[in-house]
């Protein structure tokens, strides 16, 4: 990790390696938040800043399967910081609903953040028990075993779209269950 600090971000092994395929996604998120073209210079700067923070943040402790989600989260922070800097500079841009919707959730914690760890774990376990078997197995294969969608699809003999649907529904159910229980 320390070797990454001595070289340009674009030359780091992470950026040239496993993160290279994710770069268009990062650029798209930043472009959308800044409302610029993906090829805009600010967007390119934002992508480099995202990777720089990622390298410094040491998020590589996360499993490979979670790296993209983690980078998207950093990209959102970078883009919002850039928006704020622009606003400070121009002093005349009104907040709009879109930019507010991208604000990091640190000041407005979601259901997960409001719960202590032990209680959250119990709630997730309860939510998992209520999930249909295929959704539960797909979530566990992805999050616990670190399998990619393609591998899960191969193992289960289904399409990748089906795996994506299982994981999307499973996560949505967990989030809804936590929100509901937290609101009780």
């Amino acid at each position: 990790m320390t070797s990454s600090h001595r070289m340009p971000v674009a030359e780091s092994p992470e950026v040239k390696g496993e993160w290279a395929s994710v770069e268009p996604v990062i650029a798209a998120v930043i472009a959308s938040i800044l409302r610029r073209s993906k090829r805009d210079a600010d967007v390119r700067d934002g992508v480099q800043e995202t990777f720089r923070r990622a390298i410094e943040g040491g998020g590589r402790v996360l499993p490979n399967s979670s790296q993209t989600a983690w980078l998207i989260g950093i990209a959102r922070h970078v883009a919002v910081d850039m928006l704020r800097a622009q606003k400070r500079h121009l002093r005349s841009i009104d907040d709009d609903a879109a930019s507010i919707s991208f604000e990091p959730t640190t000041s407005e914690p979601n259901a997960f953040d409001r719960l202590d760890t032990a209680e959250r774990t119990r709630m997730i376990q309860r939510a998992l028990e209520q999930l249909p078997e295929v959704q539960r197995r797909a979530l566990i294969a992805f999050h616990v075993d670190g399998l990619r969608y393609e591998a899960i699809a191969r193992e289960c003999g289904v399409s990748m779209g089906t795996v994506a649907t299982w994981i999307a529904r499973g996560r949505k159910f967990i989030a809804e269950t936590l929100s509901t229980e937290e609101g009780l």
Partner: protein, 165 residues
Amino acid sequence: MIATDDWAFFDRHLTDAAITAIADGALLRADAIDHIAECQRCATRLVASADLSIDTQVAFAEAPALAHEHARSLSPETPWALAFLGLCAAALVPVVSGLLNPASTLRIIRLVSRIGIVGIKQMAAHLDAPSQLSSLLLVFSTLALAIVGWRIASIASASNPGEVQ
């Protein structure tokens, strides 16, 4: 695998499945990513989906019991289930024959007990799943109780001369 990708778009926006797959780095198709750059609604959904993915990942990391659950869910249950069914069927043969010939009841009870004990020992040695083991114990116990009940009933009927054997 993602050649048709009709699951990625619906009503000119990305589906929840596609958003989830992009957040997890599983869908990198150009038109889907271009849409993120151009559609704030889908970009917002993608950021939320990425948050949810990380939150779920963290929750799993903090719950070792869920990893154990994983081991159970992916264990090769089917061969053992089939072996168990075979064992049950083998145990039922002498029971049925015993019904036709009550004189051999004691021998049947011994035989079934042996099968049960050997079966439980063998399966316990190969299975680490508590639910499977408890299922086996439950079925064997039920079988044993049924035999004991039948034995009591046959003794009672033998002691009642008015009842047909």
